[in-house]
């Protein structure tokens, strides 16, 4: 892709900056926070079972969870602040070469923290007490709800990236939109499958045509349509623009999914975590759910970064081949 050009500036190797040591410090902080969070949760559930007083009614209990959230936010602040101090322009991050360098530094640490957080979330999920009404089947929630959240978040990212591509013609925005779609489709399929498996024991049916389920099924078809559209058009520029327009049109489905349980009389339960008045879920179930949600979010960030790297390299290959076929008088501008 001739559009994947970047300014030819001389950069210091990453290890010459504070980035390497800062990332190692971040990794140690996250390992400490995750380990502390899991051990505190096990103590809390044991207290709950022994004397009915888990101890998580004071804010001090939530310090390790707050540390996990601060750590995740801190990674993004670290990347932006170091990049800004090194190169004076945050916008450099939106060019392919700095993106490849930064993501190459971040990904191994991010993958490790994601794996730890998923392990912690699973350990909490299977230690959580059964729900009073739904019994053990409520454990499906720890997979279903994060997958459903990410199905919508991933589509929102696709739509924002598509808008960025249509308005500014920034090639990395198109790379971001294209890379997010297969990941979003998979999380949507997982939400549909686990929802169906949760629905059978609770509702007596694998599927009902209520507004929430139907709108999520439409989201899945939108993802498949975006994949098919890119496959159907040979010219990458035209394919990118067509997919961007379709993804922006489809974005209307996101608020419909979110508010479907309020606007229509659905069998699916209304919002119970992100709602006015606070969550209605007991902390014993809410803590593993939030940990799994953060774990899935980090997993999505890592997968998206990796898929973007593959797409940038693929476009570089295509551009080199195209220029070679045209006569080899010019090198690829990627």
């Amino acid at each position: 892709m001739s559009g994947l050009s970047e300014p030819q500036t001389v950069r210091a190797p990453a290890e010459d900056t504070m980035f390497g040591p800062a990332l190692r410090g971040w990794l140690a902080f996250m390992v400490l926070a995750i380990g502390w969070s899991v051990s505190r949760y096990y103590v809390g559930v044991a207290n709950l079972e022994a004397n009915g007083n888990p101890g998580w009614d004071t804010w001090l209990w939530w310090v390790p969870e707050i540390m996990v959230v601060v750590g995740i936010l801190g990674l993004f602040i670290l990347v932006v602040s170091l990049e800004a101090s090194n190169h004076s322009r945050i916008a450099n991050l939106a060019n392919p070469t700095p993106f490849m360098r930064m993501s190459g530094e971040i990904l191994p640490r991010l993958a490790l923290v994601t794996a730890l957080l998923i392990a912690a979330g699973l350990a909490m999920s299977f230690r959580a007490p059964p729900d009073d009404l739904q019994g053990q089947a409520a454990r499906i929630m720890f997979i279903h709800v994060p997958a459903a959240w990410l199905s919508m978040a991933c589509y929102t990212l696709t739509a924002i990236s598509s808008a960025g591509y249509l308005i500014w013609r920034h090639p990395l925005a198109d790379v971001s939109a294209k890379a997010a779609v297969p990941i979003g489709a998979t999380f949507t399929l997982l939400a549909l499958l686990t929802g169906s498996l949760w629905g059978k024991p609770m509702w007596g049916a694998y599927w009902v045509w209520d507004a929430r389920l139907t709108s999520v099924l439409i989201l899945f078809f939108l993802y498949l349509g975006l994949i098919a559209l890119r496959q159907a058009i040979d010219d990458p520029g035209r394919a990118g623009r067509a997919a961007a327009i379709l993804s922006l049109l489809g974005a209307v489905n996101i608020p419909i999914i979110k508010f479907s349980v309020n606007w229509w009389n659905t069998l699916h339960q209304p919002a119970s975590v992100i709602r006015a008045g606070g969550p209605t879920i007991h902390p014993a179930l809410l803590i593993p759910l939030l940990v799994m949600a953060f774990a899935f979010t980090l997993l999505f960030v890592a997968l998206h970064m990796k898929a973007m790297r593959a797409e940038i390299l693929r476009r570089r290959c295509e551009a080199m081949i195209a220029i070679h076929v045209r006569g080899g008088g010019e090198a690829a501008n990627v």
Binding site: I140, W198, K306, R309, A310, V334
Partner: protein
């Protein structure tokens, strides 16, 4: 801890589906970059260059 009651099948299939789908995504993402890196290296071995590489030479 692992006595999941009468709905154990639904729970295990849900977690199994998550392992399969997420595992597939991880393999797809990692194999995708590896494949393109090998392709790029192959092209460079055949003498094809990016503009930035020519400027460095």
């Amino acid at each position: 801890m692992f006595d999941l009651g009468p709905n154990a099948g639904f729970i295990w299939i849900s977690y199994g589906a998550a392992v399969l789908l997420i595992g597939g995504l991880i393999v797809w993402a990692w194999a995708g970059e590896r494949e393109q890196q090998q392709r790029l290296a192959g092209l460079e071995r055949r003498g094809l260059r990016r503009r930035s590489s020519q400027q460095e030479l």
